[in-house]
């Protein structure tokens, strides 16, 4: 699977949205958004509550397919040149390459090891499962804490550990991109710091798109920042530029905390 990553041109975007509009029934939520994700980078998506961040994020691995009211009304979403909403595209294939970590940790009610092996096993993983568990947990910085209880329930872990287990579970699929929807919003500062540290290690291998409400987190952890407001992409650029010299008044107001 990973040859797909290597064959493609490193300069090309991993994921891109081209003039994308999204709606629930007749209500347009995301309006003509264009956004490109560089490989091996962390992009944060910020903006006030309800501006459409999650809706946009969930189109990148077609998780919105499960919401009957959802429609894409214009534009294309591309994963390395593949139009992921194309007629002949299997969403299951997209989700193998584009993993997701949710706002609330959602480990399966089974053992830690099983949480990690389930995804790869149903997707035809052929290698050594013990090794996979170890590598994934190490990459998610969880191995040392759980190595002696791999067969106890994932639900018995703390919230922060559960979230890292969910990251490990996503990593075990060896994806190309990991989408994160406010992965730290249910966590304490120490766990949040751990996950931020983890993200900067993960970008060696993966590209990350993270939705966050935490300005400091976006400033600290990401290379690029995109600001959405009322469904529109107001500004997109390097994190340094967005936070130090925003070009748009809305961006400035938002990062100065002048509105929610």
């Amino acid at each position: 699977m990973s040859d797909l990553n290597q064959n493609s041109n490193a300069n090309q975007s991993v994921l891109s949205a081209l003039d994308v509009s999204l709606a629930y029934d007749q209500r347009t939520i995301v309006k003509n958004v264009t956004l490109n994700l560089d490989p091996n980078s962390i992009t944060s998506l910020i903006g006030p509550s309800g501006c459409g961040k999650s809706t946009l994020l969930r189109t990148f691995n077609r998780m919105n397919d499960f919401i009957p009211a959802f429609r894409k009304t214009s534009g294309f979403i591309k994963y390395r040149n593949l139009d992921i909403y194309g007629d002949d595209v299997d969403p299951v294939f997209i989700r193998r390459r584009v993993g997701m970590v949710f706002q609330k940790p959602n480990p399966f009610p089974s053992s830690i090891a099983k949480n990690i092996t389930w995804g790869p096993s149903i997707n035809g993983f052929q290698g050594d499962f013990d090794e996979l568990v170890e590598i994934s947990l190490k990459r998610a910085a969880l191995w040392d804490e759980v190595k002696d209880k791999l067969h106890s329930s994932g639900l018995a872990l703390s919230g922060g550990q559960q979230q890292r287990l969910c990251i490990a579970r996503a990593i075990a699929m060896d994806p190309d991109v990991i989408l994160m929807d406010e992965p730290c919003s249910a966590l304490d500062p120490a766990s949040t710091a751990k996950i931020e540290e983890l993200m900067s290690e993960l970008k060696e291998r993966y590209s990350i798109l993270i939705v966050t409400h935490n300005m400091q987190q976006a400033a600290r952890a990401s290379d690029h920042t995109a600001l959405m407001y009322h469904g529109e992409l107001v500004e997109f650029g390097s994190t340094r530029q967005i936070f130090n010299s925003p070009k748009n008044k809305v961006t400035e107001d938002y990062i100065m905390g002048r509105f929610g």
Partner: protein
């Protein structure tokens, strides 16, 4: 000042009045609730009293361990095992048919069916529960049995298989509806977690939802089984009234409930042993379904806790 005082007193009066109404309402509601408790207790007492008369004539051991049920003609024998066997044959058979179908339907309803399909399909299945038992019984005798006879010519007119099949229709709504509830109660976040790992619908249903809903589904099956054991009319009509110590589903069989109907509708004199025997059988039946219900309730309670 005095105005204020009278106002105070009036307010107090009003409060007392409200409290009194409240009291009456609470009490009457409590009485309503107590009616079912008292009824249950009364049933237990009557069952105990009447069957104690029976057990003065027949030993508990020979009742529970006896292999011959021949209550009406001399030499009488009151070994309940053939009736229990008939009951189990019919109700286990019904569950073997109804559980896979019910579970399949539940998975379809909760995972595959569109909102629209679900809206008419679920009530339709639940409608099945409203069909009177006698209707099911005649359906068994007039449709299922002839069908069975055309496939297996050795099928008797009254037979356990026909009863089991018709009973499976009757418990299907219970099993389907409760299993669907259990599957739908699995948090959405778990489903999404599964889909995000590139699972197909089938893999999410079988690999995540089914295991997560196990206790609820188990409770559904036990309740279905308990209904099957207690069901009377349809079974009595379809299975006949010949107690048989046999597991052959094509033969006639008498269930515990079937025997109770047979005797209570016949002209057996009150106070005779055979009359009392129906209370002994009923007591045993009550114990069986009661423990099944308690068991499934405890599973459901544990299930609720695990989602809190």
């Amino acid at each position: 000042m005095s105005n204020l005082r009278t106002a105070n007193i009036e307010a107090k009066d009003a409060r007392i009045k409200v409290r009194w109404i409240e009291f009456t309402i609470v009490r009457s509601l409590m009485i309503c609730a107590l009616i079912s408790v008292v009824t249950t207790l009364a049933i237990v007492v009557i069952l105990a009293k009447e069957s104690s008369g029976f057990f003065q004539e027949v030993s508990i051991y020979s009742f529970l361990a006896g292999l011959e049920w021949n209550p009406l003609i001399e030499p009488r024998q009151f070994g309940v095992i053939p009736l229990v066997l008939g009951t189990l044959l019919v109700s286990v058979g019904a569950c073997i048919i109804a559980i896979p179908i019910g579970l399949g339907t539940a998975i379809y309803l909760s995972e595959y069916a569109s909102q629209k399909t679900r809206q008419w399909l679920k009530p339709t299945i639940e409608l099945l529960a409203g069909v009177p038992s006698v209707v099911f019984g005649y359906f068994a005798v007039t449709s299922i049995t002839p069908l069975l006879q055309s496939v297996f010519p050795s099928t008797e007119i009254f037979n356990a298989a026909s009863a089991a099949i018709v009973l499976s229709f009757m418990v299907l709504p219970t099993i389907t509806s409760l299993s669907d509830d259990a599957l739908s109660a699995v948090p959405r976040s778990l489903r999404e977690g599964g889909y995000a790992l590139a699972a197909t619908k089938r893999e999410v249903s079988l690999g995540i939802l089914l295991p997560a809903a196990t206790s609820g589904i188990l409770a559904a099956c036990i309740l279905g089984f308990s209904r099957a054991i207690g069901e009377t009319m349809a079974v009595a009509l379809a299975a006949g009234s010949t107690p048989n110590l046999s597991l052959n589903p094509l033969q006639s069989a008498q269930t515990m409930t079937g025997y109770i109907v047979q005797v209570s509708m016949g002209d057996t004199p009150h106070g005779s042993v055979e009359y009392q025997s129906i209370f002994a059988v009923a007591a045993l039946l009550f114990l069986m379904t009661f423990s099944l219900n308690v068991f499934s309730q405890s599973i459901l309670k544990r299930l609720q806790k695990s989602y809190d």
